[in-house]
Amino acid sequence: MSWTTFDTWIAVTGMLCAISCAIPGCFLVLRKMSMMGDAISHAVLPGLAIAFFATGTRDSLPMFIGAAGVGILTALFTQWISQFGQVDRGAAMGIVFTTLFAIGLILIVRAADHVDLDASCVLYGAIELTPLDMVRLGPFELPRAAAVNGTILLVNLVVVILLFKELLISSFDPGLTDTLGFSPGFMHYLLMTMVAVTTVAAFESVGSIIVIAMLIVPAATALLISRRLVPIIIIACGVGSASAWLGHYLAIRIPPLFGISDTSSSGMMAFAAGILFTLAWIFAPNEGLIARFMRNRGGRDQPARDLTGV
């Protein structure tokens, strides 16, 4: 299968989505809250269903508001349960998102009698279909999903650039944040809101898989390569966009080997991110397996060399 403009648009949409996820993802990983994206993307189901019941349409805007609202609620409930119930944060997160998901599933099953609201479509999205829905933006014509994710990317960039110092300090030292006079709680909820909005925007246009992967994997890859925040964010963005491109390429190149036309691009994008992570895991300059191995060997030889004076 040859690469067409259609494919370019899919890859570009994936890249925009990947970068907009990778930016808040770096902070999530630094704050040891990597699973938040997964929790939010499952928990938004009732938000979608309620928005649908309230408005009776599948318009994007009410859906977006409903889902983002529930996304933020997920973060709130998790915080409350872990704080007031003294429950481990991971467990609190698990309780909140599974319960919300269950509610959403029941609402959707109830609704399915009357309307066409397909849970699997809501969950997986379809990045392959995004170029069918083009919007005109000034002189350009681009897929709606690309426009949505591009906007979110801009917003995230602006927030991170404006509040870079605050985000940096509150990620590493909440106590210091408090002493310096701005609330770590506020920064926490700001980040959560950012994650929720990003997740839902991407989720609605391209499905949840890309979001969950791109929040974590590029940031984790970058952490293996660098130890400074600015390079980490830049590398994460690079890894995110590279895996989106590579993922779509794999999605249309691998299946023909088995006589099948193509497969889910978003799934392959997540998998491509995994491949890039593995490469970094092996070859990263300081943290990589090879570097570690060499260092260990050097370390083992060192005493002998010292003794023999070579």
Binding site: I95, A102, G274
Partner: protein, 439 residues
């Protein structure tokens, strides 16, 4: 209608009986193993594993179809799921032990990459010529109601086996849950035990997929254990209770979904479990919100009473002449300590209820007979503590920060007598060893 309800709840129908019992067994096993996961702070492991099984499911389906068998044979699918779950698990442990990334990143990585691969594989499988992949989605939402007898027996049997194994490994699991460093130093194979524990989780997850669905098995692993934690501090009871809660939500959830026809059983089970969780979070005896608030309130009252009586006694001491129980000016009592007007009034009200006050008007208060005695005792004990801390500071740190009333219990009669001598006349003690700062 009522007949249907009782029929379903009491498992009259043979087919429902098998299904409900196997879901209950699943609840028991996930409750037991979930308790260890919670204590190991890996509650979301079920989340990771259930996503990590997806590529295995797809590949097993594709292989079986390619070999000419039915792609949807349960044992084959479960085998594929187990293998890919185990691979994800090993990858997670490898990332954790060879990089500086934490548990949560390793988990998130395995979850998302395997899930992505799984979706890609399923995408291919569904387009395979000659394959009927419809129904594979039931692994994501579960299909309790339509479980066939053999599936239910398989699930129930595996669940039972897992519960037994988890109980057999209780000592080892407890050790790595509470102190893995110590376990390693004692020579226990911590990584191997971790693998065993997570292998059991994998089995629960894989069999749970069929019964309650990919996402809701996560709830089964987390919620009963977390709810049980609110009721007890003892591990044995917690495991038992988690198993009970798991079984109860399995029973009620599966029955309700039977009664209400087309409701997804997994979702109802989760909602039942979540209700139990909420109840436990508020009323759990050991760590619930309400009992904890009650404890705090009780402590606050106790401390408040002690402060009030001591303040009154110190004011009485400062008055000229021999120490006698005379009315104390309410305002000077209020100003004796830094408490808010509301607190002060509340403590006075409590003191009245407890019969420590004879009269309490807007101007002055008078201690009752018992109140005066209690005040004297309290002040003496408090001063003994202070003196002890000042004179015997070298041995003090292990005994400080205790309730004033405990002075005799902790310090012993000998020490108390010595302190009393140092304090002066035991009946009538002079002022506090440190200067009382009044506002």
């Amino acid at each position: 209608m009522l007949d249907t309800i009782t029929d379903v709840l009491f498992l009259k129908d043979h087919n429902t009986r098998v299904v409900v019992i196997s879901v209950m067994l699943l609840g028991v096993s996930s409750g037991v193993i979930g308790a260890f996961l919670l204590l190991r702070k890996r509650s979301l492991m079920g989340d990771v594993l259930s996503h990590a099984t997806l590529p295995g499911l797809g590949l097993a389906f594709a292989t079986m179809t390619a070999l000419g068998y039915s792609g949807k044979s349960l044992p084959g699918l479960l085998l594929g799921a187990t293998i890919s779950g185990a691979l994800g698990l090993l990858l997670m442990l490898a990332i954790r032990s060879t990089t500086r990334l934490r548990d949560d990143v390793a988990m998130g990585f395995v979850l998302s990459v395997f899930f992505g691969l799984g979706v890609a594989v399923l995408g291919m499988v569904q387009k395979m010529p000659g394959a009927n992949a419809a129904g594979l989605e039931s692994f994501i939402y579960g299909k309790t109601a339509s479980m066939v007898l053999q599936d239910a027996q398989l699930i129930g049997g595996v669940a039972l086996l897992i519960s037994v194994l988890a109980v057999l490994f209780k000592k080892e699991f407890t050790l790595i849950c509470f102190d893995d460093g110590y376990a390693a130093a004692q020579g226990w194979p911590v990584i191997l035990l971790d693998v065993v524990m997570l292998a059991l989780v994998t089995c629960v997850t894989v069999i749970g997929l069929q019964a309650v669905g990919l996402i809701l098995i996560i709830a089964f692993l987390i919620i009963p254990a977390t709810a049980a934690r609110f009721w007890t501090h003892r591990l044995e009871y917690m495991i038992l209770l988690a198993a009970l809660i798991g079984a109860l939500s399995g029973w009620l959830g599966a029955s309700f979904s039977g009664i209400f026809g087309n409701m997804p059983a997994g979702a109802i089970i989760v909602l039942v479990a979540a209700t139990i969780f909420l109840f436990s979070m508020f009323f759990g005896r050991a760590r619930g919100l309400v009992p904890r608030l009650q404890d705090q309130l009780r402590l606050k009252r106790r401390v408040g009473r002690q402060h009030l009586l001591r303040a009154a006694y110190e004011i009485l001491e400062q008055q000229p002449g021999p120490l006698a129980n005379v009315p104390v000016d309410r305002n000077s009592l209020f100003e004796h300590r830094s408490w808010s007007r509301r607190e002060f009034n509340r403590f006075l009200a409590h003191a009245q209820v407890e019969d420590h006050l004879e009269t309490c008007t807007d101007d002055e208060i008078l201690l009752s007979e018992s109140g005066f005695g209690e005040a004297a005792r309290m002040t003496r004990n408090h001063r003994l503590w202070e003196l002890y801390l000042i004179r015997h500071a070298d041995i003090a740190p292990s005994h400080v920060d205790r309730d004033a009333d405990m002075v005799e219990h902790i310090l012993g009669a000998e020490m108390v007598r010595q302190l009393e001598v140092e304090l002066g006349n035991p009946g009538h003690f002079s002022s506090s060893p440190h200067t009382i700062s009044s506002k």
